[in-house]
């Protein structure tokens, strides 16, 4: 199932349960899979046209009235285009606004460079008090949404739009603010997020065949980051690889480095977009272009293992 279908189904459930939840789209309700909610919630699901700045502030105003607004658009328009509205009217004003950004990083595919946000996490992570969450798959998104509704404050949901391979099953259970260990290991720590978790698991098969036992931890909430999980794992393995679908400046790598440089510096390497703009292409091509394939992860893991203090 596509992630947008899960998003729509879960939002529908939550909106039926909680009459304070509202949904605001800015002319992308169809691509984001949310158009159907407009006929189900005539007053509370609205499309306000192509006006993202307005959308963020409409949401802030509705939040000040006790409502829980979700706003939805593509990642670049949900973040870099409206970061002042998010910073001032939503975050600084302490409003309860939830921001859904879809098509993160290379997943924007044929929408190309203009629509391919490599910096959205960095943009929002540098604004105080904003929670940044990136689901790995449908099951994780499903389990996260009720937690996001229960949490008061601005949350950015960096969602994939289309079909995505399952990493977790329906029984998956996790705390929004705690990293999720997928696999124990002792040779190196791999911290990964979003759609790159699946790629990391593919890489892990090859690492295993080479006798390398990696510890794999999913950082679904990049801010506030689970410092304890990162430090504990780094202490155990002594070497770290981060894997993300984002510029390696400002995203997961930066967040992990900020923790480790203060608490427990170890050799670290990163897979991600190496400070480049996006381009059109399908995912396999883009993964190759930006060195984000499983084989790139394996090579980078071997590289960082060589730096391990013996």
């Amino acid at each position: 199932m596509e992630m947008r279908q899960v998003l729509a189904a879960e939002l529908e459930k939550l909106m039926a349960q909680n009459e304070n939840i509202v949904l605001i789209d800015a002319d992308l309700s169809k691509p984001n899979g949310l158009a159907g909610l407009k006929s189900k919630f005539l007053e509370r699901a609205m499309d306000i046209g192509i006006s993202e700045q307005n959308m963020a502030c409409i949401a802030a105003g509705m939040s000040s009235y006790g409502m829980i607004p979700f706003i939805s658009t593509f990642t670049p328009f949900a973040t870099r285009r409206i970061c002042d509205q998010i910073a001032v009217s939503c975050a600084y004003a302490k409003q309860n606004v939830k921001i859904i950004g879809t098509d993160p990083g290379i997943s924007a595919e044929f929408n190309g460079g203009t629509h391919m946000s490599m910096e959205d996490i960095g943009v929002l992570r540098s604004i105080p008090e904003i929670v940044v969450f990136e689901p790995v798959d449908n099951n994780q998104l499903k389990k996260a949404l009720p937690q996001i509704v229960d949490y008061y404050g601005v949350v950015y949901i960096r969602a994939f739009r289309k079909e995505t391979p399952d990493v977790f099953d329906e029984s998956c259970d996790f705390d929004l603010f705690k990293a999720l260990k997928i696999k124990d290991g002792e040779d190196l720590s791999i911290f990964c997020s979003g759609l790159m978790v699946h790629e990391t698991l593919l890489a892990d098969k090859e690492l295993k065949s080479q006798g390398i036992n990696a510890e794999i931890i999913n950082i679904h909430t990049i801010k506030p980051i689970d410092r304890t999980a990162i430090i504990e794992s780094a202490k155990k393995t002594g070497v770290v690889l981060t894997v993300e679908n984002h510029n390696i400046i400002g995203g997961l790598k930066s967040a992990v480095c900020e923790v480790l440089m203060e608490e427990f510096p170890v050799p670290l390497r990163a897979i991600g977009i190496n400070d480049k703009f996006g381009q059109v292409g399908k995912m396999p091509y883009l993964k190759e272009q930006y060195n984000m394939r499983a084989e790139d992860i394996v090579n980078k893991a071997l590289e960082v293992l060589n730096l391990k203090c013996k």
Binding site: E43, R44, M46, I48, S51, A60, G61, M62, S64, A93
Partner: protein
């Protein structure tokens, strides 16, 4: 106390608030005094003892730099003690330059980044419609602020959503920080613009006249569209040194001597 006496009192409070600090946004504070007095004396359904009262009317001052005027009217209504006014922009104050809903009782939205408060007000108005609580949402924008594209996004939204519970005001004092608006980025014809965006437009010839403002709000209450009341005001109105400074009064230094002179003028002693 009649409208004129109340306005005089609020002007004195604004001058003391800014004068005590020595610098502040006096021009755009003085230009909206009459509007604030009419709103809080006659129209706003609010309760200073319960600033977060459910279903209350709201005022969102999108030109958030008019904080000193907002604080003076709120203080005069009993939202907080008068000695707070002497803390403007001092460390730990509840009264920052720009309005902050999490710091000041009675402030309904955090504003200051221009254009945003107006959008927020439309969100508040939409929420009030959903809750069907009958509140009126008042909001004030600056004329310079009308250069922000976001104002017009929100204007279309209000029209589309039929937000007849919105009564907005433009403080049309013809000045912005850098100089006269018509020399920087002209916004005329302002009334036609709002009409074209589907709003009920009322132009108040003297926006520093309480009776004219009162009549305009009464008229707006009958509108089936969101209303924009354009107030032709004077930036720095009521204190001679501020009026004379023109665009220079957006944020200006005020010495103890200037404060004394201004207060004497307002008290009719000069």
């Amino acid at each position: 106390m009649d409208f004129a006496q109340k306005c005089n009192k609020i002007r004195q409070m604004i001058l003391k608030t800014i004068g005590n600090l020595g610098v502040g946004h006096i021009g755009g504070s003085l230009s909206i005094v009459e509007l604030l007095v009419v709103l809080y004396d006659k129209y706003m359904n609010v309760n200073p003892k319960d600033p977060n009262m459910v279903g209350r009317d709201r005022l969102i001052v999108s030109k958030g730099h008019s904080g000193p005027a907002v604080y003076s009217i709120l203080c005069s209504k009993g939202y907080f003690p008068e000695d707070w006014l002497l803390t403007l922009n001092k460390p730990g104050t509840n009264l920052p330059s720009h309005c902050d809903m999490n710091k000041t009782p009675g402030v309904d939205m955090t504003t200051g980044s221009l254009g945003q408060g107006f959008s927020c007000a439309m969100g508040v108005a939409k929420a009030s419609k959903i809750k069907n609580d009958g509140a009126t949402i008042y909001t004030i924008i600056g004329d310079g602020e009308s250069q922000e594209g976001q104002i017009w996004e929100a204007a279309m939204f209000a029209s589309q959503q039929k937000l007849d519970n919105v009564i907005a005001f433009t403080d049309y004092n013809k000045m912005q920080l850098d100089g006269p608006i018509e020399e920087i980025c002209n916004i005329t014809p302002l009334d036609d613009k709002w009409r074209a965006f589907g709003w009920n437009v009322i132009v108040v010839k003297d926006g520093n006249n309480c009776e004219e403002i009162d009549a305009a709000i009464t008229l707006a209450k009958f509108s089936e569209k969101p209303s924009m009341i354009i107030l032709n005001t004077i930036k720095g109105k009521g204190i001679s040194f501020a009026e004379k400074a023109g665009a220079g009064n957006h944020s200006m230094q005020i010495t103890p001597e200037m404060m004394a002179q201004g207060l004497a003028e307002l008290r009719g002693e000069a």
